[in-house]
C-alpha cells in the first residue's frame, strides 16, 4: 500500500466560511469553518438534520457553495475529485443490496477513475482490487453477490473500494450502523492502519460512545460548526450539550448511587440512544476511553 506524505503542508480538509443554501431557500449550513490535519480520523458529530450530509456533499463538491471555500490538500474540492482524492463510503441503508453486482465488481468500481475510456481493467487494477479485498479480509467472498453479506462484511466491501481507489481522503457515513461491537472494532483497527498511512477519514456519526475511542479529531456541527479540534479538547459535556440540545439524555450517577463510602466522585452518562458516552468524575482522559457496553441500560 502506498504511503502518503503525512507532513505535507496543506491540511487534509480545510473549510472556510462555508454556507450552503438549497434551491428551495433552505440554508443547511451557515458560515462553517474547520480544518482537519493529515493522517487523522475525524468524527463529524451532530443530530439528524444538523447538516452532516450537506457538509459531506459540500466537501465532495456536489452542492454549490453560496459562500466560502472547501480545500482538499490545498486544492479546490472539484479538482481533487477528478484526481480520485476523495472516496465515499455510503451508509448501508443507502445501498441497493439486491443490485446484480458481486463483491469484486463493487471494489473494481473504485478503480474506474483510473481507467481509460472503455473502463477495461488492467493488471494493475486487478492487483489493487485483490490487495484491497485481502486487506479487509474479504478475499474469500469476492464472488458473492453483495446482498448475501452480513452488515459488517458489507461495510468492509465499501472500505475495500475506497482502498482500491487509492484515495487520500475518505468520507464515511455512519460506518457503525447495523454493525455489532466486534465488527465495529475490526473496522476501527482497519481505519487506524489507514490513518497511519497518512489518510484522512471523516466519519459522520451520532454514536457518541465510540468517538473518543478512535477519533483524533472532532467537528461538532449543528447548522454551523460549533467546535472543532483534537478530540480530548472538543469532546466535552458542554460542547455536546450545545450540539445536541434537548435530544441528548444525561444521567449523573454520584455518591450514594454508586458506592457506600463517602467518595464524592460521579459518573455522567450522555446518550442519544446509541452507545453512550461516559464521563468519569476524575475527568481523566485515559479513563474516558475505557470500554463501555454497547447498549447500556440508560433507563
Amino acid at each position: 500500500m502506498a504511503e502518503f506524505d503525512k507532513d505535507q503542508n496543506p491540511a487534509g480538509i480545510e473549510a472556510s466560511n462555508v454556507t450552503v443554501t438549497y434551491r428551495n431557500g433552505h440554508t443547511a449550513i451557515r458560515d462553517a469553518s474547520f480544518s482537519i490535519p493529515n493522517a487523522t480520523i475525524c468524527a463529524l458529530v451532530g443530530v439528524n438534520g444538523s447538516g452532516k450530509s450537506t457538509l459531506f456533499k459540500a466537501i465532495m463538491g456536489f452542492v454549490p457553495l453560496a459562500s466560502g471555500t472547501v480545500e482538499i490538500l490545498g486544492k479546490p474540492a472539484g479538482r481533487a475529485l477528478k484526481r480520485n482524492t476523495v472516496a465515499y463510503v455510503p451508509q448501508n441503508e443507502d445501498v441497493d443490496w439486491d443490485f446484480p453486482v458481486l463483491v469484486e465488481d463493487v471494489v473494481m468500481m473504485g478503480r474506474f477513475g483510473h481507467m481509460g475510456f472503455l473502463r477495461r481493467p488492467s493488471k494493475t487494477d486487478h492487483g489493487h482490487v485483490e490487495s484491497a479485498l485481502k486487506r479487509v479480509d474479504m478475499l474469500d467472498y469476492r464472488h458473492r453477490q453483495i446482498g448475501q453479506l452480513s452488515g459488517g462484511q458489507k461495510k468492509r466491501v465499501f472500505l475495500a473500494r475506497a482502498l482500491a481507489q487509492e484515495s487520500r481522503i475518505i468520507l464515511l457515513d455512519e460506518p457503525f450502523g447495523g454493525v455489532d461491537v466486534k465488527t465495529e472494532e475490526s473496522i476501527i483497527s482497519l481505519m487506524r492502519s489507514m490513518r497511519d498511512e497518512g489518510r484522512v477519514m471523516l466519519v459522520s456519526t451520532h454514536n457518541l460512545g465510540s468517538v473518543p475511542q478512535f477519533c483524533d479529531h472532532v467537528v461538532l456541527i449543528n447548522q454551523t460548526v460549533l467546535a472543532d479540534g483534537p478530540a480530548d479538547v472538543v469532546f466535552t459535556r458542554e460542547n455536546l450539550e450545545q450540539a445536541f440540545g434537548g435530544v441528548l439524555r444525561f444521567h449523573v450517577l454520584g455518591g450514594q448511587d454508586l458506592h457506600d463510602d463517602d467518595d464524592a466522585r460521579e459518573v455522567t452518562v450522555i446518550t442519544d440512544d446509541e452507545r453512550p458516552f461516559v464521563l468519569y468524575g476524575e475527568n481523566d482522559p485515559a479513563a474516558r476511553s475505557e470500554k463501555v457496553p454497547d447498549k447500556a441500560d440508560h433507563s
Binding site: 465532495m60 475529485l81 477528478k82 465515499y88 453486482v101 468500481m109 474506474f112 452480513s150 459488517g152
Partner: protein
Amino acid sequence: MLELLWLPFTIDFMQQALITAVFLSIAAAVLSCFLVLRGWALMGDAISHAVLPGIVLAYAAGVPVVIGAFIAGMFCTIATGFMTEHSRLKEDTVMGIVFSGMFALGVVLFSFFAIDVHLHEILFGDILGLTWRDVWQTGVVALVCVSLVWFRRKDLIIHSFDPQHAKAIGLPVKALHYGLLILLSIVIVTALKVVGIILVIALLIAPGAIGYMMTDRFDTMLVYAVGSAVVASVTGIVLSFVLDSAPAPTIVLMLMVIFISVFLFAPVHGLIRSKRRARMPAPGLEST
C-alpha cells in the same frame, strides 16, 4: 400445422413485422435493465404516454416526430421534478398527474389537426403495415442503443448503483442521466409504429425484470433480457398470425408468460426456490 407456423416467415409484411419487432425488442430490452435497476418503471410509463402531444404537434408541423417526442418527454420529467421539489407531494403522485394530463392533451390536440395517421395506430401500433424503410430504421435505433449501452455500461451501472460514487470519481452524471432519457425517448418513438405507445412499457420493463430474476450478474441479466424479449416477439407474432389476434398484445402476453414462469421457477430468486430456501437455513453465511 407446421406449415401454418412457417407461413408468416414467407409473407412480406410478416417478415417486416418479425424483423422490426426483433430489432425493437433488443433496443428496449437493453434499456429495460437500467429502468428496472433504477426504479424508473413508472418514469418509462410516464414518458411513453407524455410523448403524445409532442408527436401530434411534430406531425402537424412536419418536423421529425422523434424531436417532438423527445421534447415532450423531457418536459414531462422536468415538470415532474420541479413540482415535486416545490410541493409537499411525492414524485409518483406528481408524475401520475403530469403524464395523464399530457396524454389527454395529446388526444385533444389530435382532433384539431388533420393528420393522416389514426390515433389507434399511435396507441397500439400498426405492425402489419410496416415498410422496409421502417425495418432498417428500427435496425439503426437498435444498433445505436445496443452499442451505446454496451460501451458505456460500466458507467451506467455505477451511476445506477451508487450515484454518489459516480459523482465522486468524476463521471459525467448529468450526461449519463439525460443520455438514458434520450435513448428512452428514441426507443418509445421507434415503438410507435410497432407496438404503440401504450404497450411499449411492457417491452421496457418486463425483459429487465426477467433478467433480474434470473441472475446476480449484470452482463448475464442483459443477455437474459434480450433473449426473452426476442423470443417473446417472434413467438408473439407467429402466434398472433395463427390465432388471428392483434400482434402487439400477443407479444406482450408472451412476455408475461415468460415473466410468470421465471417468477415461479427461476433458479435462485424464483418463488419456489426462495420458499424452499426459507425452510432450510442457507449454508456458509457467517455473522461477521
